[in-house]
């Protein structure tokens, strides 16, 4: 097991290297000059040239990559051309926002999605089944942008129950420690901040969680249906086990593998930033950051983000694979 994890972590190296080469070539292939974008529309040629030299943009591509790689290996991902700030700092200051939003929306998505899937499967072709799966179909096909605005209109404007933008009520004094607002407010015992940030989390999490929720519900249902047809379920029913136990104790666990796979994939996706949700709800996460970086041709920032996302993806996949073992003891990694 330990060996397996080490092996998987070692595999990170070629993955990250490949991702960085790919990101580097793609962003440099895209036309547009970062020196231009920071110097502004009105800058003189001399200024632009000076900036190009300062950031090494005048050197051949391979040299640029080599310089970047050498620094990256020492843990220095360079400074953003736009903000002049360390890229690692830029990403890490925004990542907790994305992480908190992801955790919360996946919490909603998993609870509701798995439950709805189980109920649908155990009462196949019932009204409840049709209802849940209809909603799920609706959820998968709904544009997040539209859903976000609708949630804001209903809960923020008409009912005035929840705030519509931002991370926390900015009038509330708040100390950032980890950057996870819920956690920070618990650590500092700041209950006003806890409630405010929780309230700010609800709408964006709903908007973001809807698609994974729907996917999870559908996958859970079909996986459950398959399991429910198997012999051991018939045996259990035959020996008179209550249906509740059959389903929740024996069937669910066997049906979970594909569900965990879907959850893992969605986790990785959401952690690399949910651009639309972050934009509609003014959420200062990494998704918005990387899009801005691409638009400004902020090479070091884009490079840093791609590496970071690749890393997250691999780690999340690894965790998913490890979770398999706990769900299904038959699975063993050599």
């Amino acid at each position: 097991m330990k060996q397996y994890i080490i092996k998987r972590l070692l595999m990170l190296i070629p993955v990250l290297l490949g991702a960085s080469i790919l990101a580097f070539s793609l962003i440099h292939l895209a036309p547009g000059d970062p020196a231009r974008t920071i110097a502004g529309e009105h800058a003189s040629a001399q200024t632009i040239e000076r900036i190009q030299i300062k950031y090494g943009l005048d050197k051949p591509l391979i040299t640029q990559y080599w310089i970047w790689l050498k620094q990256a290996l020492q843990g220095d991902f360079g400074r953003s051309i736009v903000s002049n700030e360390y890229v690692s700092k830029e990403i890490l200051s925004r990542f907790p926002n994305t992480l908190e939003l992801t955790l919360f929306s996946m919490f909603i998505a998993i609870t509701v999605g798995v439950l709805a899937g189980i109920v649908s499967a155990s009462r196949q072709y019932s009204l409840l089944d049709y209802g849940f799966m209809g909603v799920a179909l609706f959820g998968v096909s709904m544009p997040v942008f539209w859903l976000g605005i609708m949630l804001m209109m209903v809960f923020g404007v008409f009912l005035r129950w929840l705030p519509i933008s931002g991370r926390i009520d900015i009038m509330i004094p708040f100390t950032r420690i980890t950057g996870l607002y819920l956690l920070d407010s618990i650590i500092t015992g700041n209950w006003a901040a806890f409630i405010s940030s929780l309230r700010h989390l609800i709408l964006p999490s709903l908007a973001l969680g809807t698609i994974p929720m729907a996917t999870i519900a559908r996958v859970t249902r079909s996986s459950m249906l398959e399991v429910l047809k198997q012999d051991f379920i018939r045996t259990e029913r035959a020996k008179g086990l209550p249906e509740r136990l059959v389903i929740y104790k024996h069937a669910v666990r066997n049906a979970l593998i594909p569900v965990v796979t879907v959850i893992g994939l969605n986790f990785g996706l959401l952690l690399s930033g949910a651009i639309l949700t972050e934009t509609v709800f003014s959420w200062p996460g990494v998704g918005r950051y990387v899009v801005n970086a691409v638009q400004m041709r902020d090479y070091p920032a884009v490079q840093g983000c791609v590496l970071f996302f690749a890393f997250i993806f691999v780690v999340v996949n690894l965790i998913t694979d490890i979770i398999y073992i706990y769900i299904d003891p038959r699975i063993k990694y050599q």
Binding site: D33, E41, H42, K54, S165, I195
Partner: protein, 544 residues
């Protein structure tokens, strides 16, 4: 089980009702909704509107604008004298002013703020890009301290626009002690003399400023000024409607009716200092080999990559001007939030030539002109269409489509060309376009900042052009240069009026519109004045 349920109900209702009035109620806090975050917080090192709007409330320059106009009045300098030859300006500085860090404002601070920008040997030069210096202030040779409260600005050439330029953010005075303390990170810790002090910056979320209690004028009326980033315009308006913010920039024109119908909101609109146009590549530019921004005699004219025979003919360009119904474009696409342009700069500026008669919308006459120019059956041409919305052009693709159909009516087939914004600028500056949509927002409010940078021969440098029609008229450039060297306002205006006649006659551009700048505030916010440069000064603002 019961208790658990009860506590869940309690928690949910607490969440729903929320605890809203926790902040100190007596504090006056103004929250403004911006469309994006700032890049940096050093006034001499910013180029985008977002960063500038924060600078305007933290920093001040030697001079400042009158409210709502581009006229200049004293600020950190109480008065100034201009020498006979126009090459030296002596500023007498205000005494008793302190920076937010408590240090004194004096001649050393002025010299520091300027010298770090133009002198590559200066120890703080390495910490910024100083983009605007080379562009707006290159005529400043040096800045000298005469005594603690007197500084002298030495120009290499007389420059009549320098006083307005000094009101720009770039020329704001920063605290040398603060710069020394933070070195390369000073851009994160802005420290000026302005009405508000910097408190915190949470990236992509908000920037908080607080009233400067030791301000040399009366203390601001609001206690805190918070700039919040809400990128989506619909979300921004919703936040304003429910009172999460007190004011916002860039409302969607489509929402104007909704805003006007809301008794709690006030829509402010003023003519903006901008021009949106379609430029027609007249064919020739020069390569600015020595990068001095001037076409020297040893830099000959050469064909631009986008050279296209028909557009080199004046009659064709005039015909295109007559084929497009600008009134309709302003009415239907700008949705009335702009005025029709006939010259290349907005009407409120010095030297605007109101006697020029615009090309009328006359497709018949346009066809005649095309026939006279040798194109009775028209031709096929490519139009670069901007991929982004800019203050001077909200919806470039729609404007492109309108132009396409107007020109089709006179026999010219227009093909669209679209590419991302950074590339768009690069290609058009290199003269690769045949026709392109673009525009300009003024920097300092001086006519030189429109006419010389957009329509002068010097701006026809292939690769770094500002003159996208590549209009290479030497007489025009002479007039513009003379105007820049003349401090006499009347004479300057004359030169500019003459230049506009030439620009009109040669018709390198179809000037479309000057769009309004719009902001929305809640009704209880008073005292905000829209500035022609779109800068945002919150000092006079109060919340009732």
């Amino acid at each position: 089980m019961r208790a658990k349920r009860l506590s869940i109900v309690l928690l949910v209702s607490l969440l729903v009702l929320g605890i809203t009035t926790l902040g100190l109620a007596q504090e006056k806090i103004l929250v403004f909704g911006n469309s994006g975050d700032v890049a940096r917080l050093d006034p001499a090192d910013v180029t985008d509107g977002e960063s500038i709007s924060r600078m305007d409330n933290i920093f001040e320059g030697l001079v400042e604008y009158e409210a709502g106009s581009t006229e200049i009045k004293p600020c950190l300098a109480e008065s100034w004298d201009i020498s006979e030859d126009g090459k030296e300006i002596v500023f007498h500085l205000r005494k008793g002013v302190k920076f937010h860090d408590g240090t004194d404002f004096n001649a050393d601070a002025v010299v520091f703020s300027f010298e770090r920008q133009y002198n590559p040997e200066h120890p703080y030069h390495q910490y910024g890009e100083w983009s605007y210096w080379g562009y707006m202030f290159s005529d400043i040779d040096r800045v000298e301290k005469i005594d603690d409260y007197t500084v002298k600005l030495v120009l290499s050439e007389p420059n009549a626009s320098i006083m307005t330029s000094l009101a720009m953010f770039t020329a704001c005075i920063v605290s040398p002690a603060n710069a020394e303390k933070y070195k390369e990170d000073a851009f994160r810790h802005p420290c000026g003399t302005g009405p508000f002090k910097f408190v915190e910056w949470v990236k992509d979320d908000h920037i908080t400023l607080e009233a400067n209690e030791n301000y040399w004028r009366e203390r601001p009326k609001i206690d805190k000024l918070i700039f919040r980033v809400i990128p989506d315009p619909s979300a921004r308006l919703l936040a304003l409607e429910v009172g999460e913010i007190h004011g916002m920039e860039y409302p969607n024109p489509a929402d104007f009716d909704r805003i006007k119908a809301n008794p709690d909101l006030v829509l402010m609109s003023e003519p903006g200092m901008n021009i949106g146009y379609m430029a027609m590549n007249t064919g020739y530019g020069y390569v600015d080999a020595n990068k001095n921004g001037v076409k020297d005699p040893d830099e000959p004219l050469e064909k631009t990559p986008g050279y296209f025979e028909p557009l080199t003919k004046k009659k064709v360009r005039q015909a295109i001007n007559m084929a497009i119904d600008k009134e309709a474009i302003v009415r239907d696409i700008y949705m009335g939030t702009a005025s029709v342009a006939k010259n290349g700069m907005p009407p409120f500026m010095l030297g605007y030539n109101d006697e020029i008669e615009d090309y009328p919308y006359d497709p018949e006459k346009a066809k005649e002109l095309l026939a006279e120019a040798g194109y009775p059956d028209g031709f096929e041409v490519t139009l670069h269409v901007m991929p982004v919305s800019r203050p001077y052009m909200f919806d470039p693709p729609k404007i492109g489509e309108a132009i396409q159909s107007y020109l089709a009516a006179v026999g010219i087939k227009v093909n669209f060309y679209q590419v991302d914004w950074a590339t768009y600028l690069q290609e058009t500056e290199a003269g690769m376009h045949q026709m392109c949509l673009l525009g300009w927002t003024g920097d300092n409010g001086d006519p030189d900042n429109f006419l010389n940078v957009l329509y002068g021969l010097n701006a026809c440098s292939i690769g770094t052009a500002g003159n996208y029609a590549f209009y290479t008229n030497e007489e025009n450039q002479e007039l513009l240069t003379k105007a820049l060297r003349t401090y006499d306002v009347e004479k300057r205006a004359e030169y500019y009026k003459k230049a506009q006649e030439l620009i009109h006659e040669d018709a390198g551009w179809v000037f479309l519109a000057h769009s309004n700048q719009n902001m929305v505030f809640r009704k209880n916010v008073e005292g905000f004045v829209l500035h022609p440069t779109s800068r945002m000064f919150f000092y006079p603002v109060d919340i009732k």
